[in-house]
Amino acid sequence: MADRPLPARTPAASRLAEGPRGARPRPTLSRRNILLYGTLTVIAAYYLLPLYVMVVTSLKGMPEIRLGNIFAPPVEITFQPWVKAWAQACTGLNCDGLSRGFWNSVRITVPSVILSIAIASVNGYALANWRFKGSETFFTILIFGAFIPYQVMLYPIVILLREIGLYGTLWGLILVHTIFGMPILTLLFRNYFTSVPEELFKAARVDGAGFWTIYFKIMVPMSLPIFVVAIILQVTGIWNDFLFGVIYTKPDTYPMTVQLNNIVNSVQGVKEYNVNMAATLLTGLVPLVIYFISGKLFVRGIAAGAVKG
């Protein structure tokens, strides 16, 4: 509409006939705005309220909690529940809190993320840029793998891990995470690398660069955003995993989520709601921190994958 050619008229007359230009200024308190922001506030409160309850509860002592007013702010702020959750809370088996699970989770997440991203990015690169014989078939099978419900594979993998002697070890779980991350990550990287102009790749070939030189010197430096996306997906996915953790590891190698569950569900003595809340918050902290650090890059990477260029 804006660039429709206007019939020749005197400037003043045409401006009058055209009416005012630009978007109509809206009153800040229009019905539409009240409705919009009202709805948003209600929804935000709905999501924030549980978090609020958790935070205040974790800062109260048990006597205060027993008063039963879960929305009241703490009268006397105490960090004792956090300390206990981290270092002393008991599961049925041990009493060294979440710290054990935290370090297990770190030992699981870091290698899994590095391994899965390293392999998947090379996979995606090979599939996008080096169309070898059967690459389409390989890709189809891989994508199909993403849609198999993994409950089906739980038990076969137990057997597999037992056969290769990794059942119950951290490395067994790392292997499982690496494999299960493969389809979606490969797809992610393949789509990103396909959007890299083909001539760039040809130029590098004329310049004598081989498979790995092109990968490390050209593709990886161009692809920081997509690596960030992959890191976020994997860190949150693996950190939050419970099912694989509980199945493929043993009590002394349980990841943090499983440890949390065991602390919260342990039935000795009274339920320490404040400790449980603190433990839950601690467990959720890592993905939260990741989101805050890399939110901008994440959005950029997602956009770059979706739009060419």
């Binding site: 040809k202 130029a203 004598g208």
Partner: protein
């Protein structure tokens, strides 16, 4: 010794045959332009020479070496792409030296070559910038520089100027020509722009549908097109085509009620052909007041388009449109009766059935 020799090259994409048993010999130091409409297989041919596509059949020789299965980097070629294809995260210096580092050349040698290319292309001040901070013309210079530092026997250009605006395009065109006369390397240059082809080439290969239609010097391509396609593709506005027949044992061309004398025609034996096509370039025609039997055709002026140096006059002749290029001083009024005088020595005659030049 041929610099590049393409022998019976066939290339199929799946069941689609893009290049069909194509032959092309390029002389040492020659500037060959591959010209043709989009999709005719020019880039495909260039990529085959560069080794970026696996060919289906045939051989490729560069400097008497069979390179059919050699890696692109081992063929002694440098290549410039349409989209520049600069490595975005490297500086200009990094772009120029990337290939040399892969060759593991000593540092001093790399410095020397980069410096020389930068001097030739006047990109010295840009060496420490990233491609994103360069204009289109500068990027293409860098891309040419990246090919130059390779000290290749053969340079391949794939429509290097088509992403630039008209002014830059003509500037860089001159520069490429200057580069060729300075380096004297063999160049194979792909374009769909006939001006580029006519100005740059020693020889032009006009392609259509994966087949080279004609391979000749620009003047020959222009004046003696081998077939109807080449005749129509080269020249702007396009050649005028008059369908008709040759009669009197090949001495005359009959078009409707009119007859033209073929005495001055330079070509093969004309003979009597029931359907022939006479091709006349707009600049080889003249308009006069008086008819000349056997040498002119009557027509009516439709539109006169002055274009600065000359003007283009569009005429109607037996419901057929004809264009004539005249000096701009000669203004003609629409509706005027005129006679189109034909210089038969510059005309082209085609057999309508085979579409080949007679």
């Amino acid at each position: 010794m041929h610099s590049v020799s393409v022998r019976d090259l066939t290339l199929n994409f799946g069941s689609v045959s893009v290049l069909k048993s194509l032959n092309l010999d390029v002389e040492e130091g020659e500037f060959i332009v591959l010209l043709g409409p989009s999709g005719c297989g020019k880039s495909t041919l260039l990529n085959c020479i560069a080794g970026l596509l696996d060919i289906s059949d045939g051989e490729i020789w560069i400097r008497d070496r069979n390179v059919t299965w050699a890696e692109p980097s081992e063929r002694g070629i440098g290549m410039v792409f349409q989209s520049y294809a600069l490595y975005p995260q490297m500086t200009v210096r990094g772009n120029l030296s990337f290939g040399l580092k892969n060759q593991k050349l000593p540092k001093a040698e790399i410095e020397k070559r980069v410096g020389r290319a930068a001097e030739i292309l006047q990109i010295g001040p840009l060496l420490d910038r990233k491609p994103g901070a360069l204009s289109g013309g500068q990027r293409q210079r860098v891309a040419i520089g990246r090919a130059l530092v390779r000290d290749a026997d053969v340079y391949l250009f794939d429509e290097p100027l088509s992403n630039l605006d008209a002014k830059l395009r003509s500037e860089l065109r001159v520069e490429i020509k200057r580069l060729h006369s300075r380096l004297n390397n063999t160049m194979v240059y792909v374009t769909h722009d006939q001006i580029e082809a006519l100005t740059l080439a020693d020889r032009i290969a006009v392609m259509r549908g994966g087949i080279i239609q004609q391979l000749d010097a620009p003047q020959v391509i222009y004046n003696r097109p081998a077939n109807l396609f080449v005749a129509g593709f080269i020249g702007s506005p396009s050649m005028n085509f008059l369908p008709g027949a040759t009669v009197d044992g090949g001495r005359s061309f009959r078009c409707g009620d009119h007859t033209l004398d073929l005495a001055g025609y330079e070509g093969g034996a004309v003979l009597d052909r029931p359907s022939a096509i006479l091709g006349l370039r707009p600049e080889h025609l003249d308009l006069r007041q008086n008819p000349e039997p056997g040498r002119s055709l009557p027509a009516v002026v439709e539109i006169d388009e002055p274009m600065g140096a000359d003007s283009l006059v569009w005429l109607k002749m037996d419901h057929r449109q004809i264009s004539v290029r005249l000096p701009v001083e000669r203004r003609l009024k629409p509706g005027m009766q005129v006679h189109v005088h034909v210089d038969m020595s510059k005309a082209s005659l085609f057999d309508a059935a085979t579409e080949q030049r007679i």
